[in-house]
């Protein structure tokens, strides 16, 4: 076992997951490739969504990959930071909206 849970060199080995389950791996990467192709959204917009999600799921591999990808697709620094704020707002909002549940429960319990 490695000394750290995350190794930057492992990002380039992502494709190796197919070694132990080729068919599912193939289907996943085919789907993955299709998702990031330009469609109703541009490749740059998709890179920025992926960057925001990478922060939300706090995946260092994904942050590495989609910071690079966002730059490659021509996103500027302000756009990239705004994407991170969108993730932060949703994460924070998702937490705070549970405050309503807390309030409901408190009201149920209280005289």
């Amino acid at each position: 076992m490695e000394k750290t849970y995350y190794n930057p060199a492992d990002l380039a080995k992502f494709g190796n997951i197919s070694d132990w389950q080729p068919e599912m791996g193939r289907k996943f990467f085919e789907y993955y490739g299709e998702v990031f192709k330009e469609g109703a959204l541009t490749e740059r917009e998709k890179a920025l969504i992926a960057l925001a999600v990478a922060h939300a799921v706090q995946c260092p591999y994904c942050i590495d990959a989609y910071t690079t990808d966002s730059l490659q697709k021509g996103a500027d620094e302000a756009q990239m930071m705004e994407a991170v704020h969108v993730a932060a707002a949703i994460k924070g909002g998702a937490l705070l909206v549970h405050g309503v549940q807390m309030m409901n429960k408190a009201k149920d319990l209280s005289m």
């Binding site: 380039a12 330009e38 490749e43 740059r44 697709k73």
Partner: protein, 348 residues
């Protein structure tokens, strides 16, 4: 900022650059030789096709000192082409049907014989491309009429603008470059360049501002058109996405920033046989300020001369040059990665 040469930097020496590229310096990096990749793609030795472009570097003098410059150009570089060497280029052109002459530098306009040279090439009926850094147009009053001069000689203007905002552009090309570039683009637009139906072509060049590859040329072009149109009312024809090649100052940046190994691995991993088949060195002959011949401007800066009995423009012989193989090295991975890269943008 000084050029690498003026600051006595080790990387100003092309032989030292080649030792780096041949992995004799970063010995933890084990990349396959470019020749091996070409062989795998059935492209070795790399042979030329009929030359379509004569790319002439009229000098290393420039008003800018860009961080990525493979020429190591700047105000302190005094190597510029003489009118006598230009005449040799014209003599060579006259005996061929090469349709396009691509003038580069440095800032080619700073060569005192630049306008004479353009007039002579135009008179030979050849298409002229000028790789204009934009800021030269506003650098001095004597250059303010360049847009009109370009127009009068049907010049295609190809201009570097690495990003559509000031922060990123200035980080690569120097403080105030974006603002001056916008002023120059407006002057070019004002005489008709980039305007639909004008027949005056204004293409922009994007190159990544760091150790990453360019994204889709089409996608970047759409963004540039939208941003420059909305923010400044600027129009242009096409955007060429160019990959930074690990030569000279860009090589220095890669090493200093700790990105050299990662960038080279990225280029190798992105090797694309289709891009390799379409590399511009196959249909281009590159001439240096002192008249020597190369397969491309990068080879010129690495002093990798053409592998031919013909070495100088004074001895130009299209038939003899057609027999050569293109000289390759590890930096060539830059032109074959992803969608490919050339002075005209992607190749695959």
């Amino acid at each position: 900022m000084k050029s690498l040469k003026a600051s006595g930097h080790q990387l100003a020496d092309s032989a030292f650059q080649l030792t780096v590229l041949r992995q004799e310096v970063v010995d933890t990096l084990h990349l396959p030789p470019f020749a091996e990749k070409l062989r795998g793609a059935g492209l070795f030795p790399l042979v030329p096709v009929a030359p379509a472009i004569l790319q002439i570097n009229v000098g290393k003098m420039c008003n800018q000192v860009c961080k990525h410059c493979h020429v190591d150009a700047g105000p302190d570089r005094k190597e510029i082409m003489t009118r006598a060497t230009m005449q040799l280029c014209l003599d060579a052109l006259a005996q061929t049907d090469i349709a396009t002459v691509d003038l580069t530098g440095g800032a080619p306009e700073m060569n005192p014989d630049f306008r004479w040279f353009v007039e002579q090439i135009h008179a030979l009926g050849r298409h002229v491309i000028v790789r204009c850094n934009l800021t030269i147009i506003v650098a001095n009053k004597k250059y303010h009429d360049l847009p009109a001069f370009f127009k009068a000689h049907g010049v295609e203007v190809v201009s570097s603008l690495p990003f559509y905002n000031a922060k990123t552009t200035d980080r690569q090309r120097g403080d105030g470059v974006f603002e001056d570039s916008i002023r120059a683009l407006k002057m070019l637009n004002a005489v008709g360049y980039g305007q639909p139906g004008s027949g005056l072509t204004l293409n922009l060049v994007y190159n990544p501002n760091g150790a990453f590859l360019p994204g889709s040329q089409k996608g970047l072009q759409e963004q540039f058109k939208r941003a420059l149109g909305k923010d400044f009312g600027i129009v242009f024809n096409e955007l060429f996405a160019i990959t930074n090649i690990p030569v000279s100052r860009y090589l220095d940046f890669l090493i200093e920033s700790g990105n050299y190994a990662g960038y080279m691995e990225k280029l190798v991993a992105a090797f694309n046989p289709t891009a390799a088949a379409g590399v511009m060195c196959r249909n281009t002959i590159s001439v240096s300020w002192d008249g020597y011949l190369y397969d491309c401007d990068f080879n010129q800066m690495l002093e990798l001369h053409v592998a031919s009995t013909v070495q100088h423009i004074r001895d130009f012989d299209a038939a003899a040059l057609a027999q050569r193989s293109v000289v390759i090295n590890q930096h060539c991975y830059g032109c074959t990665a992803g969608s490919g890269s050339s002075c005209g943008g992607t190749t695959a």
